[in-house]
């Protein structure tokens, strides 16, 4: 046997994290330093197994009476043959290793992402936290605007922006928490975060809807808010692209999808609720604003009374 044997330690993402090439047989595998191939795993024995060539010339992996043994596809083997034209995947303790003969081309080892240390929650330099707070503020501003406006175009734009911003918040919020708590994508963590955050928003919205009666926003102010929001869209795109670069596409889609569904559900619920509520009182747009009064074109009395005919149809459909 003239070939070399390549032993690779693989992580769960099937990435090679360490590669050892051995020529001398038999080669020993285990936790202790005397071994040819050292595996840092408490579930691997000091001297776990060894690679030997048997009488027929085949290369085999043989167990050295280890506690956890050699597992291949969940089955324990005393001795397992290393194929010459294929690779052998086995589990030693809790570590996956791959064994190949030199007939194979070597796969280049990808560098691992740098492991980040959990950062301080209140670190002012935490970019994700700042993004999160910024989007939260903008989102709430948008929703306030939506509550105080009555113009279709304005509310349509506001809804559009709030959905975008809402998506941004979930993403930035997730990225922030992800960095603080864990390096890995955790679906359940993500979902529970969404629930907490949406609950928080709805509480804020209730407070804002009461406060908004005190605030008389003029069209001018609304245009100002819209401009600020447009600028923030650039930040939003940045958040989507860079903060979430480590999440897979489906993660991003789920994030945006859930935020979209949450917003749509909350709107349709409030709309439905308003429609169903029996009220003897008139609800109409009573906001008289000196600036918008001159911006919105006036119509003729005839046109106005023609439009009122729609009311009869609306009432009939109720």
């Amino acid at each position: 046997m003239d070939g070399k044997i390549i032993v690779e330690v693989i992580n769960r993402q099937k990435q090679v994290i360490r590669q050892t090439i051995t020529k001398d047989l038999p080669a020993t595998i285990g936790r202790s330093c005397e071994n040819d191939i050292i595996i840092d795993d408490p579930y691997v024995d000091r001297s776990h197994c060894r690679i030997v060539q048997n009488e027929e010339g085949d290369l085999t992996l043989t167990d050295c009476d280890s506690e956890n043994g050699i597992l291949n596809s969940g089955k324990r083997y005393e001795t397992i043959k290393i194929p010459t034209i294929n690779e052998l995947n086995v589990t030693l303790g809790k570590t996956d290793i791959r064994l190949r003969t030199s007939g194979f081309l070597c796969q280049p080892v990808k560098p691992l992402p740098i492991k980040r240390e959990p950062s301080n929650l209140f670190d002012i330099h935490n970019r994700n936290l700042i993004m999160f707070l910024l989007f939260t503020a903008l989102y709430l501003g948008m929703r306030t605007f939506l509550l105080t406006t009555s113009d279709y175009l304005e509310s349509g734009l506001a809804l559009f922006f709030s959905i975008l911003l809402g998506g941004g918040i979930w993403c930035a919020g997730w990225a922030f928490l992800n960095r603080v708590l864990s390096e890995r994508f955790n679906f359940f963590l993500h979902i529970s975060l969404l629930c907490v955050v949406s609950l928080f928003f709805d509480l804020c919205l209730i407070a804002i809807s009461y406060l908004s009666f005190l605030v008389q926003l003029d069209t001018f102010v609304k245009i100002l808010i819209l401009t600020v929001c447009t600028i923030s869209i650039i930040g939003l795109i940045y958040s989507h692209l860079s903060l979430l670069a480590s999440i897979k596409l489906y993660g991003r889609l789920i994030t945006c999808g859930i935020s979209f569904v949450l917003i749509v559900v909350s709107y349709s619920f409030s709309f439905y609720h308003d429609q169903k509520q029996f009220s003897p009182y008139i609800s109409f747009d009573n906001e008289l604003k000196p600036l918008s009064t001159h911006l919105i074109p006036a119509i003729s009395p005839k046109a106005f009374f023609d439009e009122t005919r729609n009311l009869v149809f609306k009432l009939k459909t109720e």
């Binding site: 008139i282 747009d285 008289l288 009064t293 006036a298 005919r309 009432l315 109720e318």
Partner: protein, 439 residues
Amino acid sequence: MLTSICHKKCFAFILFVCIGSQLLVAKSNIPTWEVFKKYSNHVVKIQVLANHSVAQSSVGSGFFVSAKGHIITNYHVVSEIVLNSNKYHGEVVSSDGHIYPLRLIAIDVLHDLALVKIESKINDFFVLDDLKVQQGERLLSLGHPHDIGLSIVEGTYNDFLKFTRFKRIHFTGSINGGMSGGPAILNSGKVVGINVSSAGNQVSFLVPVKHALNLYQSSKDKKEAKPDDFIKSIRDQLYSNQDLYYQNLLKHSAATMNIGEFNLTNQLSSKFKCWGDLKEENEKQLFTLRSHTCFSRDDIYISKAFITNKVEYQHLHISTGKLNRFRFFSLLSKYMSEEFYQNDNQSIENQFTEQRRKLLTNFKCQTATIDQSGNLIRTVFCLRAYKLFEGLYDAVFKTVPLDQETESVISTLYLPSISFDNSQKMAKKFLSEVSWTAK
């Protein structure tokens, strides 16, 4: 107190007992106890009971008008049976304590009258007749006040009310709940009116007998009708009533007046009562409020949760010397959202939400800024439909001129029980009467 005697029986009595004596003329009336004795068996108690219940839910009075058992009472006594026939039924309790099932024959919601019937031969009944009565004549009203037993109340006839379209007799006697539907008669036993409502302190109202006579004559041969027919009948009565009423108002050119810079509708017609007030809000006297509120007095009772037909309008003039444009417009917005016409009905609104939900939809509104010959006016037109009575709506029309920076007037017109076409015509007329001299 009562000197003019105008019927023969009484006059004969006077001639016989005390001829030529001025003092004794006053005593010449038939004593009340005698009238009571003679006519008490003409009057019945009408009780409305919830189905599967033996206890009454409301009580009123009524009186026989034919030998076949026809009884005249108020519509509002039996309204629950008409509108909720699956939940309520009625009973007639005669003076001797017999209980008969009540059969509804016909109703007249405009005059608050109903013709009902029992299946029994009646010997003692009033013969209805349209008659002229002098102001000041003695009337005796019979009924069951608060269900404490048949009572007789003495009072005087005080002619018709001047401001109502549906004629009501002003009766100076005390009518109480439960007496509704009972007769108010002369000593001779002639019915003058039907007890209907009270304003307290001996100010009570009667429906003139003429309407009861019309109802009886037009419906005496009818059989018991189905509840749906009554709903349709109420709808038709309301519809033709509003047509007539609003057409008249539209023909009438309303009197106008000036408040500040504005020229506004004063009285839509002479039947409207108007009240004005002036307020200087808060200590700093930032602005002045002048209100001018007018209303008609033509209530139509549909159910205890729903009284309609009272047209109201208000001009709320707001002027300021101290507020800037933004604050002034903000103030206008606040007053614009207030609903003045609801104040009267506030307790009804709160008490009977469920019942009203069955009768009315929510308001739907159309808002726009309109340009009326160069003047900018914010207008709001709101409608709610009557669910049971097709084609009828409550309409609210608001106008707020927006050209002036220091004064404006919020005008609100409330048109209950109106067809869509008429509501538009009324709103157009109301709008056309708003004008002002631009600064």
